[in-house]
């Protein structure tokens, strides 16, 4: 178990290190003088330009040797200094991102958990039931092949425009300001529902397919066969298979996080939902490079934390890892 965690932590640390290094390196690898390119490309107002230029000279310090620049980059990172947003200047990038994180978590966590649970249950239920499987499996494939943003567009068009039941932009109405009142919460939930639904549906397909295949695999496994030979009822065999099939699905959750984040970006853009995904679009449109880099770092950190949480859960549920006897080692 110790070995398992040490290994995982090493991977995460290296990943974080790599992500920060990429963040530092990429602007410097691009052709031309990065500062001039950045300021030139960004549509800057005069007062913002000063602030940006000042930041550049401090953070980039291009007259200094490369290793010094690199160290400076890390230092300011640990101070929480990710630069100043050009698009929302003079707000610091860290603050801009911090403001949008609650919307991300509020959308992503329920969508991921619900789709994972429902997908697993459904996938397990349909596996090895020939008729149902024949009908349901193609549906799952269509779900999982659908681009997140397209499903979002479709839902927005049908439920928002044609039927007019749900709002299609923002996290809450402009007329209302965030508070803990019932009317605000209802308003928030109404805005939340369609983005949630589009994330939920696309992911649902993937989990259901994964579970179906795992269950079939487990039902073919020797232990299932032996239970069957001893006349154990289908129910018990399926229960065992389900439990064992859950383990790879947990690992799968960790592997899918990156894809889900991508999906969230598309969905938020369609619904103008003020999470990091939407922020990222704005940043790209305004060529707000600090904000892009900041979003990148935060997404990486978020995914790493989520990965770690999943690892801890995995250790709790898989006795093989708990006893240091293999299981998923990587």
């Amino acid at each position: 178990m110790g070995r398992y965690f040490r290994r995982k932590l090493l991977i995460y640390l290296l990943t974080f290190f790599a992500a920060v290094s990429i963040n530092w390196m990429i602007p410097r690898l691009m052709p031309g003088d990065p500062i001039r390119a950045l300021i030139g490309r960004a549509a800057l107002r005069a007062e913002a330009a000063d602030k940006v230029a000042e930041y550049f000279s401090r953070i980039y310090g291009l007259d200094q040797p490369a290793w010094r620049q690199y160290v400076n980059f890390w230092t300011s990172l640990f101070k929480g200094d990710l630069g100043i947003s050009i698009y929302l200047s003079p707000k610091p990038v860290t603050q801009v991102i911090r403001d949008s994180i609650p919307f991300d978590l509020g959308l992503l966590i329920p969508a991921i958990l619900c789709s994972w649970i429902v997908g697993n249950k459904f996938g397990a239920f349909a596996a090895r039931r020939k008729r149902l499987d024949g009908i349901v499996l193609p549906i799952w494939y269509v779900f999982t092949a659908t681009p997140y943003m397209w499903l979002a567009i479709l839902l927005a068009y049908v439920f928002g425009v044609l039927l007019g039941i749900f709002p299609i932009a923002g996290a809450y109405s402009f007329a209302i300001s965030p508070s803990l009142s019932i009317s605000f919460i209802l308003n928030y939930l109404k805005h939340w529902f369609l983005p949630f639904l589009s994330l939920f549906i696309v992911q649902l397909g993937g989990w259901a397919i994964g579970m179906r295949n795992m269950i079939i695999y487990e039902l073919e496994a020797d232990y299932s066969r032996y239970m069957e030979s001893l006349g154990a009822p289908r129910k018990l065999i399926r229960r065992y298979a389900f439990r064992n099939a859950m383990l790879p699905q947990i690992t799968g959750l960790a592997l899918q996080l990156g894809v889900i984040v991508a999906g969230a970006v598309g969905t938020q853009v369609v619904f103008s939902y003020p999470g990091i995904g939407y922020l990222l679009l704005q940043a790209v449109m305004y060529k707000d490079y600090f904000l892009i880099q900041g979003c990148f770092l935060f997404i990486v950190i978020g995914v790493l934390i989520a990965n770690f949480v999943i690892d801890v859960i995995y250790v709790i549920v898989d006795p093989r890892v708990r006893h240091g006897m293999g299981g998923e080692t990587a």
Binding site: A221, D222, Y223, R225, Y226, M227, E228, S229, L230, G231, A232, P233, K235, L236, Y240, R243, N244, L247, D318, P319, R320, H323, M325, G326
Partner: protein
């Protein structure tokens, strides 16, 4: 007569046609008897043992009858067979080392399995302890996960589980193939002990390794390409094998304990025929050193002397 098998036909349904894995096989097993079943891989011996406990597609019941303690087994009816599984017929599978759910403690798995078969775990708990001792396992294995045990320990745990409800018929499928010679002997001894203590009434010991049968079997049945070709008491069949295939099998065994299957049978040229639409007549004829025209007709399994049956025209001809 504990078990009687009559004209049993088990085929595999494949897209290219039916594979005649067990074709018209008949024999008996007496109470208190250990029957050794031997043959090359693919001769139908594992199909036979599997068909008695878990007959499901692509395996297909094509006819015949199996009686156990006077009751006819509903082999083709998967559900009805559940009455017999475990309680009357049990299995120690080839894959015994992987036969336990990897994420359940062994004791809990047994309890859940028994409960699902309507047997109370607490009532059987003392007996379980006694049997664990028989196979040299400590009671503490009940609180362990399968991966905490060695392969041999897992196999012995499965031996205990399989026989827990005192089945009338126990099928042991290639359980010694993966073991070294001294462990093979120990396992064989345990099975004989199970029989002697009446934990199982009769036992079919399936193997490709004839040498182990000297130590355990009362009688030996030789299978070739889906057919039973010779049945006789162990001593008799080793001293005076009649079927040309049996002869070659036994003469190609250099010493007791050496596994011949690691090479293809050295003394016998060629390989067994495919069982998808096999040619008519004796299935061994193409490899047989003593074939003659009559072999184009299928030889019956006929009694040539007391307790000795063989399916070969040469032998049948001698008698009649």
């Amino acid at each position: 007569m504990a078990v009687s098998v009559k004209n049993l036909k088990i085929y595999y349904q494949t897209l290219r046609g039916q594979v005649q894995a067990v074709d018209n096989v008949s024999f008996d097993i007496k109470d208190h008897e250990i029957l050794g079943m031997a043959g090359e891989s693919g001769c139908g011996k594992s199909t036979f043992s599997n068909s008695l406990v878990l007959l499901k597609p692509p395996m297909k019941f094509m006819g015949g009858r199996v009686e156990l303690d006077g009751e006819s087994l509903p082999l083709a009816d998967f559900r009805k067979m559940n009455e017999f599984r475990y309680k009357k017929i049990s299995l120690i599978p080839q894959y015994a080392m992987n036969a336990l759910n990897p994420t359940r403690k062994i004791g809990r798995m047994i309890a859940e399995l028994l409960a699902s078969r309507g047997v109370s775990f607490s009532k059987i708990s003392r007996e379980l302890d006694r049997r664990l001792k028989l196979v040299n396992l400590n009671r503490s294995v009940m609180k362990m996960y399968p991966f905490e045990l060695s392969g041999g320990m897992r196999q012995r745990a499965v031996m205990v589980i399989a026989t827990l409800l005192d089945p009338s018929l126990l099928l042991a499928d290639e359980i010694t193939s993966a073991l070294d010679v001294s462990t093979q002997k120990a396992v064989a001894k345990m099975l004989v002990q199970f029989r002697d203590m009446d934990l199982v009434k009769s036992l079919v010991f399936v193997t490709h390794d004839i040498s182990i049968l000297y130590q355990i079997a009362d009688r030996v049945l030789i299978m070739y390409a889906g057919k039973a070709v010779e049945i006789a008491p162990t001593k008799k069949i080793t001293k005076e094998p009649l079927h040309p295939y049996t002869r070659l099998l036994i003469s190609s065994l250099p010493d007791v304990g050496v596994k011949y299957s690691e090479r293809r049978l050295a003394g016998i040229k060629g390989r067994p025929p495919g069982l998808l639409n096999p040619f008519p007549g004796c299935r061994f004829k193409e490899r047989c050193p003593v074939r003659f025209e009559k072999c184009d007709k299928e030889p019956p399994l006929a009694e040539v002397s007391e307790n000795h049956q063989v399916a070969c025209w040469r032998e049948v001809g001698n008698n009649g």
